[in-house]
Amino acid sequence: MQSDLLGYDSDLLRGNTDPMLLFLIEEHGESYGYRLIKEIEQRSGGFFRFKEGTVYPALRKLENDGLIQGSWKRLPSGQERRYYRITAHGREVLRKKLAMWQNFNNAIGLIYQPARG
């Protein structure tokens, strides 16, 4: 996904977009592109703003890798949406990525704290 470069370097985001999408899909049981975009924006307090069109190819890559599975659903309004669910393999990958992120975050935190003595 490509950011609007508002207040952060897009390199920082790279590598974290897949776990973000997987996490949100898992949390809801199933979700769709527009909802994921809105949710990332809302949860980050507007910090993360993507070029929205870049989310769909990212979802497709996750689907190609077998991490999520998509299916079309017709809404009562007649509109159709493609919903995504996380797969067992996706859950496993998400667990590993979250653990990795936690360790990485802790290590960075330790480096950035003021040196003692």
Binding site: Q2, Y34, R49, K51, E52, G53, Y56, R74, Q79
Partner: protein, 330 residues
Amino acid sequence: MVAEVRDYLEQVRLHLNLEPQTERRILSELVSHFQEKIAELELAGRSEGEAAREAICSFGSARLVARLSYEAYSRGSWVEALISAQPHLIAAALIATHFWRRPAFLAGSVALLAVTTLLAWLRGKPNWLFSWASYVLIPLLIGVYVSRRLLAQAAQFILQGQGDASALLPLLPLAALYAASFWLLVAATVRALRKDWLLASLMLIPLPITGIWVFHVERLAPLVRSFTGEPNRWDAAMAVVFLVLAVSSAVFVRLRQRFLKTGALLTIGGIGAAVVARSIWSDLNLAGLAVVTVLGLAFTWCPVLLRSRRDSPAAEPWTQEELADPRTRT
């Protein structure tokens, strides 16, 4: 749908270069996004036009979306890459072992290639089909080339009354051969173009390379029957060229980025023809080599021109009705 969004999605479609069914699937999802986004913005007080423009602005450029979608959808599996390389490997093996001059092996290989191509054609036309299709065309085109003298004799008898009336006998089978070759070449190229001009180029690449070789071998036809003949001396070079084609086809299937695929085609189309020409005409000078390279490149790239003609403003295969049809989605 708002005209601005429709134009925007048409721009995305023009740059997708994927098969129509995949394009419809991508566009369906984008349409769904725009419907929801515009409805939400209208609820927030924007006019329809303002909402559409804001939705397009936050979506990113059509080219960016198309490029990323292409990269997400175009990559084939390793199995597809291997299948795509198979016909080139068969050709390389036939030539490296000199078995291409044994009619049974040659006929068996051509039959295998033809049956596989036909089955793939009937079952969804996967992308790897197009590297096989060229090898079905090659024997037909060679047949057309070799039979040109018969045709000339028949034409001479008809136009000038010179020669023997028996020259007319092969006309019917020849006409069938010419028609079948022409139809197959055009149908395969058009079909490949519908998916992607890069696939059409990939399909056409072996033709100029094999053409140069066949042209020269045919001039030594009397020697072909004796197994110690001259044509053997180019077999090693041709086998290497077909091996390179096999690797290139596999890499082509696995690459995501379009510019890399284009680069791979440029390299094989131009350099492949030049290497074959150089190995056959050892006294070929630099200017001659440049001409062969340019001709090889031009032939490989002619589908781009055909594709640009196809991209006329009239082409709009994703009407609202089509998008609403669940059968067009997977």
